[in-house]
């Protein structure tokens, strides 16, 4: 009977539940909004579209973990917030380093009095940042146990450091106490780095987030679990971390602080300078980052005021009209749109070792260039990118040293010409409308792709383009890691990739085409003697007109060879709520919250 009574009321139970639920939600909403006032006043809420991996600078390679690390840890150098093109500025160093020995010796003077955030590993004592911390942190990059994805940036560059890694192979021990000739703390605050070859880009490396200072005590205390225990000298500390869901940063009370002091570089900067100049940073007390993978979810969250920042993504036409003007409904809300073209490039490579599309024979050149001419990037931008991208004309994108807006590309969209070109080289059309190779063997492109709906859109576009020139194309979806593995082994015929600048210099891009980088970053396995000669010549030059000229020649060479289907550089539209002050998109830095302020009068 008891069972009966219990279940007898089953009809009403859900109803009661619902009422209870409603009451509860009202109550908790009220309860929620109450403590919000006692919480830190200035909070910024933003979303990442992909999960982070962790917060140990040399260990992580993903964009989002790097972004968080950028705010927690400090580099020797950083970038000027306003200057465009991006310009380096000192961070923990007093000034830019002294470069001597024809670009082979870099000497950094570190500011005294910079403290790490307190941490039990320091034994309760204040812990000052010294040159030795950078020696340690740089050594860590090459420690095989750390397996840093950034090792390539200093591998084979610093005198004696590679030898240290080599000894590990024999002894199994990577000894941090071994003196390395090219990496020394001359005194408490002086760091000297000596290179094997002149490298005019080394300052960019010193400004790169993975090369931040970490404290040896902390790393040794947490061993394998450093990802969850970031301890740095930067303006923010990790307050709360729900892996793959939520990251909360708070102002580091120990941070030395800095003044907002930047010079106008572009017209739009004047307003920023007027509002922000002289303010003591950081002003934002708390940064709340949610991981929202689905675009619809994060967009609606922004529109519902659950976020202060948002990209525009697929929803561009909701915000901007055909002319690119913001629609009145958005203007009325005071939402500001910041547009910037990312220092990045998308491209599809051809595998030069592939029997179908590879090789330097004239008809292969023709095949590749016909394919390039048939692919409609305008439509890619219009339909897939929703108008938020610009055509890439060179392998060096806009905003990166070496890009020349006046360069006129060779292989422009022209399917009619592509068809004629294929005809003239004997790629005959069969009965089914598809072409064969000149020797009569079948012609089939195999395009590696991913599994997202965006990938699908690209495949649709590629299919359309290839149908026009009668080239049969097949798509082979795979996981990113599988595709990468196959690409490095020169086994993918074609694959679309993107490259985001590690530092805003053309060298970071053209190295993707350098023959000896095959198996590392040159996934198309493009080995052109002419190109390699040009590249090697450019390595020996600092940023100069001569080097820019070489970049142009390299571009022409890769176009002639049809090495890549150049893609686009994506335009990033960032929408910000009216109470967020001082924002400007930086091409390299991502964690720019430190430079922001919130206008409490406008805040909700």
């Amino acid at each position: 009977m008891r069972l009966v009574r219990l279940t007898g009321s089953a009809v009403w139970y859900p109803v009661l539940w619902a009422i209870l639920w409603g009451a509860l939600s009202c109550f908790s909403n009220a309860a929620l909004s109450q403590p919000a006032k006692t919480e830190p006043r200035k909070t910024i809420r933003l979303a990442f579209p992909a999960a982070e991996t962790g917060f140990d600078p040399p260990r992580v390679s993903d964009y989002y973990s790097n972004t968080v690390n950028e705010a927690i840890f400090e580099r020797l150098l950083t970038y000027d917030y306003l200057a465009r093109p991006a310009r380096l500025a000192p961070m923990t160093a007093e000034t830019l380093p002294e470069v001597t020995d024809g670009g082979k010796t870099y000497t950094f003077k570190i500011r005294s009095g910079i403290q790490f955030h307190p941490e039990p590993a320091f034994g309760g004592k204040p812990r000052e940042l010294t040159a030795a911390d950078y020696v340690y942190s740089f050594k860590r990059i090459l420690d095989p146990k750390v397996r840093s994805p950034w090792a390539f940036m200093i591998e084979g560059k610093i005198i004696g450091l590679d030898a240290l890694a080599a000894t590990e192979k024999q002894t199994g021990k990577y000894d941090y106490d071994t003196d390395v000739e090219g990496l020394r703390a001359l005194d408490r605050y002086t760091l000297q780095i000596r290179l094997l070859e002149p490298d005019y880009n080394f300052n960019y490396i010193a400004a790169h987030t993975p090369f931040s200072a970490v404290a040896r005590e902390v790393v040794e205390k947490y061993g394998n679990d450093t990802m969850a225990h970031p301890v740095g000298t930067g303006p923010y500390v990790l307050k709360q971390w729900t892996r793959g869901a939520r990251i909360v940063l708070e102002k580091n009370p120990e941070y030395r602080g800095m003044a907002w002091d930047f010079a106008v570089s572009e017209d739009v900067d004047a307003e920023l300078v007027r509002i922000m100049q002289g303010k003591r940073l950081p002003l934002i007390d708390r940064v709340e980052i949610s991981i929202i993978e689905e675009e619809q979810s994060s967009w609606l969250a922004f529109k519902r005021n659950e976020l202060d920042f948002s990209g525009v993504g697929s929803f561009r036409s909701e915000v901007f009209d055909e002319k690119g003007e913001m629609r009145p409904a958005w203007r009325e809300q005071g939402v500001k749109a910041i547009r910037a073209i990312d220092p990045e490039l998308t491209y599809t490579f051809f595998n030069f070792r592939d029997p179908t599309v590879g090789g330097f024979e004239k008809e292969k050149l023709a095949l590749r260039r016909a394919i390039i001419m048939a692919y409609n990037r305008e439509e890619e931008i219009e339909v897939i990118r929703k108008g938020q991208a610009v055509l890439a004309t060179m392998p060096i994108p806009v905003g990166v040293v070496g890009h020349d807006p006046r360069y006129k590309p060779l292989n422009t969209y022209n399917p009619a010409l592509a068809n004629k070109l294929l005809d003239s080289f004997g790629f005959k059309r069969g009965k089914n409308g598809f072409r064969t190779m000149p020797d009569g063997s079948p012609l089939l492109l195999k395009y590696a792709t991913g599994t997202t709906s965006l990938d699908r859109q690209f495949n649709e576009l590629w299919k359309k383009a290839m149908d026009v020139i009668g080239v049969r194309i097949e798509f082979q979806p795979g996981k990113f890691s599988d595709n990468l593995k196959a690409a490095k082994a020169c086994q993918l015929q074609m694959w679309g990739s993107a490259w985001i600048a590690d530092y805003p210099d053309g060298d970071n891009f053209v190295q993707l085409l350098y023959g000896p980088n095959t198996g590392q970053s040159n996934n198309g396995c493009y080995e052109s003697k002419a190109f390699d000669a040009l590249y090697e010549a450019s390595r020996k030059l600092p940023d100069s007109p001569e080097r820019n000229h070489l970049f142009l020649e390299m571009t022409r060479q890769m176009e002639v060879d049809g090495a890549w289907v150049l893609g686009v550089s994506r335009e990033r539209n960032t929408l910000i709520r009216p109470w967020v002050l001082g924002y400007k998109k930086h091409p390299v830095m991502n964690a720019t919250w430190i430079y922001l302020d919130i206008d409490p009068a406008k805040a909700p």
């Binding site: 993504g313 010409l417 709906s453």
Partner: protein, 387 residues
């Protein structure tokens, strides 16, 4: 647990059935008005699938007949086609050109550009490439082919609106939905048949023979059903690599057979002890015939119901597979691929693709499920209770 249910039902079915069993069932079915109307709807879908498979209808689903995101308008076919609207790729190209030109027209800078001369050469003289340090082996050919002929493909006439609207490339959503029905229904049915075939075969063997065979097959069943379905699907999808209708069928069929196995195995265990089986055995009828000619017809109604339940489930599962990126290939269309394409468009007010695919699917699945119910009731008189 659904399996348990079926075994309850099946238990009461008389094992010896005259030819009258099916005709009785049909009579019962005819009285079920919901069942009959469901049957009509499902039949209509099947005819549509047949016509579309034969290419009679929806043959042009892949043609871009309308402008990008053409809005729905039932009279759309009556409005005249227009040349591709401005504000698209062509205009953008013009803008880019304009931008480049205005850049070149900047007032002379005081900065000396040592590259200026090179750049003039690079810029204006495609035809004079031999002067460039970079040799272009194709320069001669391209010139003879008329590289200067900048005419792009002739602009086609596009419709400003379509009866059910257009997708992002301007393809007709109505045709896509029809073609998508074909793919989705074929996927659902074939995968259900595959899963049922597998499950029935293994279940029959395990149930009939028992002993070692049962142990082994049961073990396989246990292993398959212990691994989370999502992981199983992801793994099988990764093994199969290629994309296409066939792959989707295989993924669903190979992972979905366990329910049938359990059900059929229980049925065979029950039947193997029955007199008619013992008798056949005594007469020396080969096992193969006992398994599939004697017992199978007696459990076929269970199988039939299971097939249609699975088909409904798989049609829905195809959407999830598409979401996970394991849907049909690029030159095919299914309800799943349409829903995933349209995922972000609702917010932009472009509801038609989502509505068309989602509505068509809801209609078919509802009809199919109700048909299954009616079928089950008709085949299983025991359930029918006088009020």
């Amino acid at each position: 647990m659904a399996e348990r249910l079926h075994s309850f039902e099946a238990a009461a079915v008389p094992e010896k059935r005259g030819g009258g069993f099916w005709s009785l069932a049909w009579q019962r079915f005819r009285d079920d008005r919901i069942g009959v109307s469901s049957l009509v709807i499902v039949a209509a879908f099947f005819i549509m699938v047949l016509l579309s498979a034969l290419g009679v209808i929806a043959g042009n689903w892949n043609k871009e007949v309308g402008i990008h995101d053409a809005p729905p308008d039932l009279w759309g076919l009556l409005t005249p086609a227009v040349p591709e609207a401005v504000g698209n790729a062509a205009q953008r190209a013009a803008q880019t050109m304009e931008k480049t030109q205005s850049m070149e027209a900047l007032p002379p800078s005081t900065v000396v550009d040592p590259l200026a001369e090179t750049l003039v050469r690079l810029r204006g003289e495609d035809d004079a490439l031999p002067e460039n340090r970079i040799m272009d082996p194709l320069a001669e050919t391209l010139r003879s082919l008329g590289a200067d002929d900048k005419t792009l493909t002739v602009e086609k006439e596009k419709r400003a609106s379509l009866p059910f609207g257009g997708d992002r490339w301007g393809r007709d959503v109505l045709e896509k939905t029809v073609k998508g029905s074909q793919t989705s229904i074929i996927v659902g049915l074939s995968a259900a048949l595959l899963a049922t075939l597998l499950g029935t075969l293994l279940g029959a063997l395990a149930g009939y023979y028992g002993g070692r065979a049962d142990d082994v097959l049961n073990w396989v069943y246990n292993v398959f059903s212990a691994i989370p379905y999502l992981l199983l699907i992801l793994a099988v999808a990764a093994v199969l690599q290629q994309r296409g209708v066939m792959t989707v069928i295989l993924i669903l069929g190979l992972t979905g057979w366990t329910g049938v196995f359990r059900l059929i195995r229980a049925e065979y265990i029950k039947h193997r002890g029955r007199e008619y089986v013992q008798a056949a055995h005594a007469f020396g009828v080969p096992d193969r015939r006992i398994l599939f000619s004697h017992i199978l017809p007696n459990v076929s109604h269970v199988v039939l119901v299971k097939v249609s339940l699975l088909a409904v489930g798989f049609i829905k599962a195809e959407v999830i597979l598409s979401f996970l990126g394991f849907g049909v290939a690029v030159d095919e269309v299914s309800w799943g691929s349409m829903l995933n394409d349209a995922q972000r468009e609702l917010i932009l007010g472009k509801w038609w693709e989502l509505a068309a695919a989602g509505g068509a699917m809801a209609l078919l699945v509802t009809a199919f499920s109700l048909l299954t119910d009616a079928m089950r009731d008709a085949l299983d008189p025991k359930i029918r209770v006088a009020p």
